[in-house]
Symmetry: C2
């Protein structure tokens, strides 16, 4: 991190001294067109404050985990699954993802979806859905048409 207390925003939702990471995990990476920027690596007692961007037509991973997420949409719009419900999401909307709740973000076909996400730095690994989980999710036709794995 820069020694200056202020890091300036750059065009296109980039920042001074913040690396754009093409988001990968070990093993399968069932997301599409996802980047991550860690804005505050150790913000306030081991919390990470990140900015994620999903390119047009892309999506985040369908996953769940024990740690909770606090999210604010910063750029564009899209849709998300939280639990069994789908939501339209727009700039500055607030999303709470509780523990062990399936969730996924999708950008529209014609625009970027960018969101701030606050998590604990010491967090459990995300879980991917198994066959039974997917079957349960797909029992709702709306959810079945939304999710990408």
């Amino acid at each position: 991190m820069n020694s200056s207390p202020v890091r300036k925003a750059q065009p296109d939702f980039r920042w001074d001294d913040v690396e754009v990471q093409h988001y990968q995990r070990e093993g399968p990476t069932p997301h599409k067109e996802l980047t991550r920027q860690v804005l505050f690596q150790d913000a306030v007692d081991h919390r990470e404050w990140r900015y994620f961007e999903v390119a047009a037509g892309g999506h985040s991973t369908l996953e769940r985990h024990e740690h909770d997420h606090a999210v604010m949409i910063l750029r564009g719009h899209g849709r998300c699954l939280v639990g069994r419900h789908l939501f339209d999401i727009d700039e500055r909307d607030l999303i709470s993802v509780p523990a062990f709740t399936w969730y996924q973000f999708r950008a529209p076909d014609d625009g970027i979806l960018g969101f701030l996400c606050l998590v604990s730095r010491d967090r459990d690994h995300p879980q991917l859905p198994g066959g039974e989980d997917l079957a349960a999710l797909k029992s709702d036709p709306g959810v079945a048409g939304f999710i990408r794995v």
Copy 2:
């Protein structure tokens, strides 16, 4: 907090189910035209994610404390003091306020300054500057002209 995982943004940087608090503390309140909205009361292990707004011509309190702050400008522009240095701040700029560092935000005379601020829910009380602190700060003419107490 609403039971829905999504709380929609409203016009003018307001949100569903988020109260606009006129920011007051016990005792002297040396700020001007400051409001607070707690976006996530218990976001991620006892962290609060708040949105502050300083009206045109207003300022936050000149203060310091042990707990650190992570800040992102969300609306408008302004200036801030962090330590002994002044910074121009614009939308999406990131500001790290370290422990025991004097800081103050000021809105311009003709516009609102709004910023996201992440803190620990269990935090120490802010300290206000005493006579010696103010004298030290005012030894810099730029800082002397900036601060409001």
